[in-house]
Every structure is written in C-alpha cells, then in structure tokens.
C-alpha cells in the first residue's frame, strides 16, 4: 500500500467469518460491481469513484477474513469532507453486501495528515464533532496522535479511531506500525464479539430460566413446611426437576467458563498490542490504552458475573435438594419408629394370647382329670362319686397347673 493512500484518507478494517476461495471470489465480484471501473490487482480491488480512490485488500486471520478498505479522497479536502466521502464510499458496499452488515467488527480510522500537534488536535476535534461522539481516549503512539470515540449507541461492533502523524514526514514508519497494531486490536475485537454472539442467547435465556427455577423451588420449600406429608411420587418428581436443572446450570457454567478462558487470551493479546503502541499522554486527555483496557475488562467481567450468578443459583438448587433429602430421611425415621411401635404392640398381644392359651390349656387338663376321676369314683365309691368328684376339682386344677409347668419348662 503506498504511503499516499492511507495518509489524508480513511481506512476501514472489517472482519467477517472466514470465506473459502469460491465465496471470496464471488464476494469480490459483487464488491467490484458496486464501483464502476473496478479492477483486480494482485488479489486486491482498485477503483475510482466520485469521492476519490479506493483500494480493497483481503487478509486471512485463522478463521476470519479481514477486508481492508483504504480510501484516498481527492486532495485538499477538509477532515469533515474526508470522513463524509470515505464513509459514503464504504457504506455503498454494505447496502449491496449483507455479509458486511453482519461483520464481527468494523473499525473506521480517519487518517488525516497534519503539519503539527496543534494541527492534528484541530482535526481531532473536527473528527469528533463530525461523528457526534465523545472522545474516550487520546494519546501519542508511534509519533502519531491516536484517539478513539465512545461507540455510537453502545454498538461494540463498530468503532471509530483517529490516527494522524504529528509531523509531516518523520513519523511515517510509526504510522504504519500503529495501523498494524490497530488492526490487531480490531481482530481481537472481532474474536471477542464472535464469542459474545455465541453465548448471547444462553445469557439472555438465563434470566427467565432463573425466574422459573426460583418460583419452582420456593413452592417446593413452602410445600415442605406444610403439616400434611408430601407424597413420595411428588418428592421423586422434585428431585428429578432439581437434577435436570442442575445439569443445565452445570452445562452453562462450563460453556461460559470456556468463553471466559478464551476471552482472557484475547484480552492478553490486546494488552500486548497496547504495550507495543507504547502510548504516551497527550495534553489532558485520558489515554486510549486505559479506555481500551477498561472496555476489554468489561467484556471478560460479563462472563465472570454470569458464572457467579449461575453458581449461586446452582447452590440454591443444592440447598433445596438437601432439604428434600432431609425431609425424606425424617419421614423414613418416622416410618421406622411407627414400625417399631406397632411391632411392640403386636408382641404384647401375642404374649397375652399365649397366656390365655395356657389358661385354657390348664382348664381343659383339669376338666379331663376330673372326668377321669369321676369314672374312677363311679366304680369305687358308687353313690358318693358325685361328692368325691366335686372335692377332686381343686386337686385337678392344681394337678393341671403342675403338669402345664412341667410341659412348658
């Protein structure tokens, strides 16, 4: 890329999901059709339009494709006009190529040439006014003024940077190096946004899911407090619910934890880029490095917060699980006590029955002995047999008791 191209111009880094060779070729064709007279030179597209010249290059970054559009507006334009022309030419692409609207990251850099720090500062203010965005941070990096705006409408997939050499010719090498680092940061932002997109729906689904679990476990705890015993089938269904939800929460925690680790690696790459930029302070502006650092920490904190909240909910489920288990164990103990009590009563009844049986046994034996005696008395005593039999009854009873004791010894 010639030095003239990115000085006094406008650069856009746009990161999209990786395109295969057929998709890339098709994409280039459609991109070329948006500009009249576009031609392919060494894999890049070059075109001239009303606003100036445009060069579109493609770079592969592992699983992402970076589209680098460099606009060289006609010479002698003010910063505001440069921005308008540059953005106008690029937005023309997006209307025809929906893929670009779904880009993981779009980073626009206004790159006006400056004759001095004061000149750069004036252009910086003009840039901020034109884009209606407050400046988040500004500093001196690689001999250039580097500045960034607060993302418009909180859109983290579209960022605006400003990069302008503070001296007309001296800082060109530094300017190129700063652009490379900004490209690295754009790549990291794209990776972070992709990560965010992959987990966004799970994180959105968390809140209503949490509400549903809270309602359900509150009702369980309320049911456990009621004096009427909870049916075994009900408890079983509660345990099934708790186990199912715990499994879901564990899955969420593990997926988001993986994202957190990946986000941490991305953030460390951003920090490396910021270190290489070695940004110094400019006037009383807060530095870009601080602003970028804060932004990326917030991105990882989101995962951290999610994990903490999910673990807290999981702990609540575990508590209810414990409550149900305790309830079950108390019910079990009650059941055992009831069983023991009923066994004792049964034993007492059995002993009573046995005693009655013994008494009947004695009585039968006594009757039998008396009958035997009566037969004997009938033969021996004749008319006195009745009296003798009556007298014999107590003897028979005593004898029966004696025999019974002998038998049950």
């Amino acid at each position: 890329m010639s030095e003239r191209r990115w000085r006094d111009g406008f650069v856009r880094y746009q990161l999209i999901q990786d395109l295969n060779s057929t998709e890339l070729s098709d994409f280039k064709k459609r991109l070329a059709s948006t500009y009249s007279g576009a031609r392919e030179v060494n894999g890049a597209l070059e075109a001239k339009a009303e606003g100036g010249e445009i060069l579109i290059e493609f770079e592969d970054f592992a699983d992402l494709t970076c589209i680098i559009s460099t606009i060289t507006p006609r010479a002698g334009l003010k910063v505001e006009a440069q921005i308008d022309r540059g953005r106008g030419m690029l937005d023309q692409q997006a209307t025809l190529l929906p893929l670009l609207n779904d880009a993981l990251m779009t980073l626009d850099i206004c790159t006006p040439g400056s004759s001095s720090e004061d000149d750069a500062s004036v252009k910086l203010e003009a840039w901020s006014r034109r884009l209606s965005g407050p400046i988040t941070g500004t500093g001196i990096a690689k001999g250039c003024i580097l500045s960034m705006l607060v993302p418009l409408k909180g859109d983290l997939t579209h960022k605006n940077y400003f990069l302008s050499p503070t001296k007309p010719s001296k800082s060109l090498k530094g300017f190129g190096e700063a652009l490379t680092e900004i490209k690295n940061i754009a790549l990291c932002s794209a990776q972070l946004n992709r990560l965010e997109r992959s987990s966004r729906n799970y994180i959105t689904a968390y809140k209503p899911g949490e509400a549903e679990i809270s309602e359900r476990i509150d009702s369980y705890q309320w049911e456990l407090l009621r004096p009427e015993p909870v049916k075994m089938e009900t408890l079983e269904s509660w345990l099934g619910y708790i186990m199912e939800r715990e499994a879901s929460l564990s899955a969420m925690i593990s997926a988001v934890r993986a994202n957190l680790v990946e986000a941490g690696l991305i953030v460390s790459r951003v920090e490396d880029s910021l270190r290489r930029l070695n940004e110094g302070s400019f006037r009383d502006y807060p530095s870009c490095s601080e602003a970028i650092g804060r932004e990326y920490s917030a991105a990882t904190r989101k995962y951290d917060d999610f994990i903490v909240a999910t673990e807290a909910l999981k702990a609540r489920l575990s508590t209810v699980m414990e409550n149900v288990r305790t309830y079950l164990s108390v019910q079990q103990q009650k059941l055992t006590l009831d069983e023991q009590k009923s066994s004792k009563e049964q034993l007492v009844r059995l002993v009573g029955l046995q005693e009655t049986f013994h008494k009947i046994e004695i009585f039968i034996l006594a009757v039998y002995m008396t009958e035997m005696a009566r037969i004997v008395f009938d033969v021996v005593a004749g008319e006195e047999a009745g009296l003798l039999t009556a007298i014999f009854i107590p003897v028979a009873l005593l004898g029966a008791v004696g025999v019974s004791r002998l038998l049950h010894r």
């Binding site: 966004r200 729906n201 799970y202 959105t204 689904a205 809140k207 209503p208 899911g209 509400a211 549903e212 679990i213 269904s237 099934g240 619910y241 199912e244 939800r245 499994a247 879901s248 929460l249 899955a251 969420m252 593990s254 997926a255």
Partner: protein, 139 residues
Amino acid sequence: MSLPPAPKSFYEQYRWDPEEAKRQAYEFGRIMGQNLMRAIGVVDADLGGLVLVLNEFQRRVHGEPNARVEGETIKMHCRGFCPVMRAAMTHDIPWRWLDEYYALPMFNGLASLFVPNTRVRLLTAKNRGDPECLYLFEA
C-alpha cells in the same frame, strides 16, 4: 414414555440430511404421543386431548405444563432451561438446528395424532435471543 434419541446422537446422525431429520423427528413425535396417550388414558383426538398430552410431556421432561387451548390454537410457553438448550450448549450443536429439525417436527408429529395437518410454529425462541419459546399449534 419412550423418549426420542438424545439430541447429540440425533444431530450426529442427521446433521447433513435435515429433511430426513425432520421425518425421523416427526415419527418419534408420533410414537411418543401414542405412548403418552396410553399412559394417561387420553382417547379424545381433539385440541383438549392434545393439551393433556403436551402438559404430560412437559411434566415428564420437568418443563412447564402450561399448554392451553385458545380458540382454534394451542399456546405453550417454555421459559425455563430445556434439554434442547442444554444439549446445544454442552455439545456445541447449533441451537437453531435442534429447534428446527428436532423439536418442532417432533411436536408436529405428536400434534398430528390429534388434529391432522396441525401447523406448529415457534413465535418466539430463546435461540433467537427471546426470553422464552412460544409454541403455537394451529389446527
């Protein structure tokens, strides 16, 4: 209730053949519906019977049994975590694929036992960032 195959094995088997996935899921839905009808003794093949079976299904998968008839339609809200969502997260399976080729055709198959040609639509879906999945069964 004979449950349909686990989402992971289903996805692995049919990921490259979505139309066959739809057909299979539809059949699983019918089998599952028949088993549920037998289990809870539903005999009426109308929207009321379908509501009973849908709610029984939700109870068995620990979901929210809130399906109800509204005119000529049935609405069923699912805001809690569901097995489809868990499978998508755990096995890194596209959530939308599972909803489109596994869950929806299954409900279609189940509904067809009651009202033939029932159309099942997801008016809102958690996989699209909505707070709940809202199923609409149109007779």
